[in-house]
């Protein structure tokens, strides 16, 4: 592997990679994302390999196992380039036909293409499928075009040009300015401006500083970070290096899940390849900037995605949060300034540097710029990862992209942000996707998981479910969180089981207030959020459950 020492060498290498590639050469891109894994896409991939070998087409056709394409519901997905024909729900049995008909004779197989379940309208190309049509795929769009285990693929789509631009043509201050102008906000849930966070870390005293990718993604029902981190790890790494340069850090950490081996494998591979090319390590691109990255795995604890807990975990301690009177960007890992951002935030950085903050701020709403990845799950026709510009209404996402509710049911609510998020009812579906608009409604966007609930769902039960989860995940260090959640859970269980009493709702409100005010970290502070939001919009359900109990008690007395 040649080491790259300057911007021109990088461009030359890119040219070299591109010249070896014939844009007309057929390529079969098979989704190897998490969602398709369980649909035995491994068997589909090996069937393709076997078929290509059998027909002796190895030099004429490329096979690429890519990251998540996003449309998990219809997996395994297969995309045939250069025509970009998209086949859904492919089985190993279909493989010989695809190779002989589509790859060699350019014929579209009618039975494998997408058909609209309502109208029966067919769509042969990815861009025509309603799920993709209504998206703006800046971040995840490249997933289908690259093999996450090949840095050349990433270079071929223009990768690392933002890195060379920032290291060789821009000063750290200019980068900070650009990120601030782009109004990039943290995608992990808080929506804190990334530029300001970086600036704090940069200005904090001390020579040693750290940058961290939070790829923990503990939020239930969220799976877009995985899609990016395992499907396009270089984009996150590129953003991380740029951020490190802007902050003045020489050591980065990627913190991710232990239960998804694919993640660690792809990240490790990306790090090794980047190091071989000289895009990571000492004297990156000949700029004199050194940067190293370590991968750390979580131990499956929800709270370890919280920034201070995550840093303690990297230090080798149990992941328990600490009160953040001093921000982690001032005192983080081993007391050193540490800038932590979510996977998606880092992945946005190369885009901003590459295309400029003006281009970036042209999409989005007044205070939320750019695009957002959301993961759709629950009672929805199209489960998957979608990328939409901020400002898209929730209704458009659920019905335009998500395809609505299965089995002809009506929608009841959309729950944002997992166990510490909130729900909005059907009547508010026209709210635009925006950090502040949704937070105002008591349903902060969180990391972007959208759990769609149909009319049969009991809101009391789903709220109880979230509290049950949190009561297991509370570390127990502070009493308000440990006991508050436990007692709220008990009352809710009673209400659900028809043993509710009058005054329970008021009691719940009182406990949630104390838990929220007195807990140490975000887990306790926001534990009652789903409860409060369902109480706000679905209070009648709680009351009905309690009233039912009262009536039956009166009957007994008679």
């Amino acid at each position: 592997m040649p080491r790259i020492n300057s911007a021109s060498e990088l461009e030359e290498l890119r040219k070299g990679v591109l010249s070896k590639r014939d844009p007309d050469k057929p390529c079969i891109a098979i989704c190897a994302g998490m969602g398709c894994l369980g649909l035995s896409n491994g068997r589909v991939i090996s069937a393709f390999e076997k078929e290509i070998n059998k027909k002796d087409l190895k030099t004429k056709v490329d096979i690429r196992a890519t990251g998540c394409h996003g449309y998990c519901e219809k997996g395994p997905m297969v995309l045939i380039y250069p025509e970009e024909i998209c086949y859904v729900e492919v089985t190993p049995k279909d493989v010989p036909e695809i190779v002989s008909q589509t790859v060699l004779r350019k014929k579209v197989i009618d039975r494998l293409i997408y058909a609209d379940p309502d109208t029966g309208e067919k769509a042969a190309h990815q861009a025509e499928i309603p799920f993709y049509k209504n998206q703006m795929r800046h971040l995840i769009g490249n997933n289908a075009k690259i093999d996450p285990r090949s840095i050349d693929d990433y270079l071929a789509v223009g990768g690392y040009s933002a890195l060379s631009k920032s290291l060789l043509k821009m000063s750290p201050e200019q980068i900070l300015e650009e990120i601030k102008k782009a109004e990039l906000r943290g995608r992990g849930g808080g929506g804190f401006p990334a530029g300001r966070k970086w600036e704090t870390a940069r200005n904090a005293p001390g020579k040693e500083k750290y940058v961290i990718v939070n790829g923990h993604e503990g939020e239930l029902g969220a799976f877009m970070d995985r899609a990016i981190l395992s499907g396009n790890p270089h984009s996150v790494l590129e953003g991380l290096i740029i951020g490190a340069y802007a902050i003045g850090s020489h050591q980065g950490f990627i913190y991710t899940r232990h239960d998804t081996p694919q993640l660690k494998n792809n990240i490790d591979m990306a790090l090794t390849q980047a190091e071989e090319y000289g895009l990571l390590g000492e004297n990156i691109l000949g700029s004199g900037f050194d940067f190293h990255v370590e991968v750390h795995l979580d131990i499956g604890i929800f709270v370890s995605g919280e920034s201070s807990a995550l840093m303690r975990s990297i230090e080798g301690n149990p992941p328990e949060p600490r009160p953040k009177y001093i921000r982690t960007s001032v005192s983080g890992i081993w007391g050193k300034p540490s800038a932590l951002n979510n996977v998606e935030t880092w992945a946005n950085v190369p885009l901003i540097i590459d295309k400029g903050s003006e281009w970036y701020t042209s999409t989005g709403t007044e205070r939320s710029k750019g695009t957002k990845l959301v993961s759709l799950s629950g009672n929805i026709v199209n489960t998957g990862v979608a990328e939409v510009p901020f400002g898209t209404t929730v209704r458009e996402i659920v019905f335009g992209i998500g395809g609505g509710i299965p089995n002809g049911k009506k929608i009841k609510a959309v729950h944002f942000g997992g166990p510490m998020g909130g729900s909005i009812p059907e009547s508010l579906l026209d709210t635009p996707l925006d950090f502040d608009e949704l937070a105002k409604l008591g349903a902060p966007i969180g990391a972007g998981s959208m759990l769609v609930l149909d009319e049969d769902t009991s809101m009391v039960d789903i709220t109880r479910y979230f509290l049950d989860f949190l009561s297991n995940e509370s570390c127990g260090k502070c009493v308000p969180c440990r006991e508050g959640i436990r007692q709220m859970l008990r009352i809710l269980t009673n209400i659900r089981d028809g043993k509710g009493r009058e005054g329970d709702i008021e009691l719940l409100e009182e406990i949630s207030e104390v838990t929220g005010a007195a807990s140490l970290c975000a887990l306790g502070k926001t534990a009652a959020d789903p409860l409060l939001s369902t109480l706000r919009y679905f209070r009648d359900e709680y009351e009905a459950n309690i009233a039912k109990m009262k009536r039956s008690a009166e009957k007994r007395e008679l």
């Binding site: 998490m34 969602g35 894994l37 369980g38 649909l39 998990c72 519901e73 997996g75 993604e217 503990g218 939020e219 239930l220 029902g221 969220a222 799976f223 995985r226 232990h258 239960d259 998804t260 081996p261 750390h296 795995l297 131990i299 499956g300 604890i301 929800f302 975990s313 990297i314 230090e315 080798g316 301690n317 149990p318 081993w334 993961s375 799950s377 629950g378 009672n379 489960t383 998957g384 729950h415 997992g418 166990p419 759990l451 609930l453 149909d454 769902t457 789903i462 479910y465 979230f466 989860f469 570390c475």
Partner: protein, 397 residues
């Protein structure tokens, strides 16, 4: 009389000095007839009878124990010891029942000093009753060894039981109705099983393992506990570091430790890798990690007991995870989990006695399109309805 073959029950009586003993005396003086099987120990108050006395009596081959005290409200001491005797007897009867002995072998009666005839009547009833039950243990179908083993296990627990009685099982109002109401309530049953039943099982498992090493399956058979219960108790034992476990390949462990040596914050990664490699963390491995990385064992235990990723007991050959993320939840993972539990007979966090399956509930793994799903040994099985589970699990040995 056929020589040596009629069963003459041995009965021990603990009689209170002020009432029952005087009553028995009166019965004698008044020449009332009753069987002569009872040997009497005089105490100042029935409240003096310690559960240990009763168990010791049984351990020494007594077939029945009788306790006689003053009528409630007539105790000669302001501490009202006979109420203590009452609750002690309720608990002891429950204990006897729990280890498979007939609770009728223990009897508590109130006899005042003037009721000689009542004492004789009670004896005329109690002794034939015991005679009908047969010799201790044999009557219940327990062999001698088993009986001794169980009684010893309970005896060891007595200090703990007394503590539990004082903290959780004391009735605040001293009337017979209240005592009866509490000790026959479901609440008492629940507390007993939670506080004493589980401890007793653990105590028995420990006693068994002290004799020789056994597999979970053998323990379940000997003690008549369900596999799910045995697995749960073993988990508790391991967490308290009471379980000696089989040594593993130290070289492999050293390799993992050496790979990370010197790097700050490597503890969690080392433990994760060992867990991944070995599927569980034996005690001696933890000791080794502690010495090698120079980290106190208490800190290691803090980490490994915090989450279910780490296991301190051997896992089954196949690890079954049922996803209980919200998306799977609204798509019916609760029913799926119930079906899996019924099929393999264990609850989440437990391992079956054949070490075939370990069951866990897993949080969202981000394959929400597959919900409800189960993951066996890392392989995802999506869109599993309860009736399909059997087909998935039958492929694993």
């Amino acid at each position: 009389m056929a020589a040596g073959h009629t069963f003459e029950p041995r009965i021990l009586g603990f009689l209170c000095n002020w009432c029952c003993y005087a009553g028995a005396d009166l019965a004698g003086v008044s020449r009332y007839q009753y069987p002569p099987n009872i040997r009497v120990i005089r105490l100042m108050c029935s409240g003096r009878v310690d559960p240990a006395f009763i168990l010791r009596a049984f351990l020494n081959g007594t077939d029945g124990v009788f306790i006689g005290g003053c009528w409630l409200g007539e105790c000669h001491y302001i501490t009202e010891g006979n109420y203590d005797a009452l609750s002690m007897v309720y608990i002891c009867k429950k204990l006897l029942e729990h280890i498979g002995l007939n609770p009728e072998r223990l009897r508590l009666e109130w006899v005042s000093a003037g009721e000689g005839i009542r004492f004789a009547n009670i004896m005329n009833e109690f002794v034939p009753g015991i005679e009908k039950l047969g010799p201790l243990g044999k009557g219940e179908g327990l062999d001698e060894h088993e009986l001794k083993f169980k009684l010893e296990a309970v005896t060891k627990l007595i200090p703990y039981i007394k503590l539990v009685e004082r903290e959780r099982l004391r009735v605040p109002v001293r009337t017979e109705e209240e005592y009866h109401k509490f000790f026959t309530s479901d609440e008492f049953n629940r507390l007993f099983n939670e506080l004493i039943g589980d401890k007793l099982a653990v105590c028995q498992i420990m006693a068994l393992l002290r004799e020789r090493s056994l597999s979970a399956g053998e323990i379940s058979e000997i003690l008549g506990l369900s596999p799910s219960e045995v697995s749960r108790h073993l988990n508790v034992l391991a967490r308290n570091q009471n379980l000696k476990t089989v040594a593993v390949d130290n070289d492999k462990i050293d390799q993992i430790i050496n790979k990370h040596q010197g790097k700050a914050g490597s503890l969690v990664q080392v433990l994760l890798e060992i867990q991944h490699e070995n599927h569980w963390l034996p005690q001696d491995v933890l000791d080794r990690v502690s010495t090698k990385l120079d980290v106190p064992l208490s800190r290691i235990m803090q980490i490994v007991t915090f989450h279910k990723t780490f296991s301190l007991v051997p896992k089954g050959r196949n690890e079954v995870h049922v996803c209980v993320g919200p998306s799977c939840y609204v798509r019916g993972s609760t029913r799926l989990l119930d079906t899996v539990q019924d099929l393999i007979g264990i609850k989440p966090g437990e391992t079956d006695p054949d070490s075939k399956f370990s069951l866990e509930t897993g949080n969202c793994l981000g394959c929400c399109n597959l919900g409800p799903e189960i993951i066996v040994d890392g392989k995802h099985h999506g869109r599993v309805t309860p009736d399909k589970v059997k087909d998935v699990l039958k492929n694993y040995e």
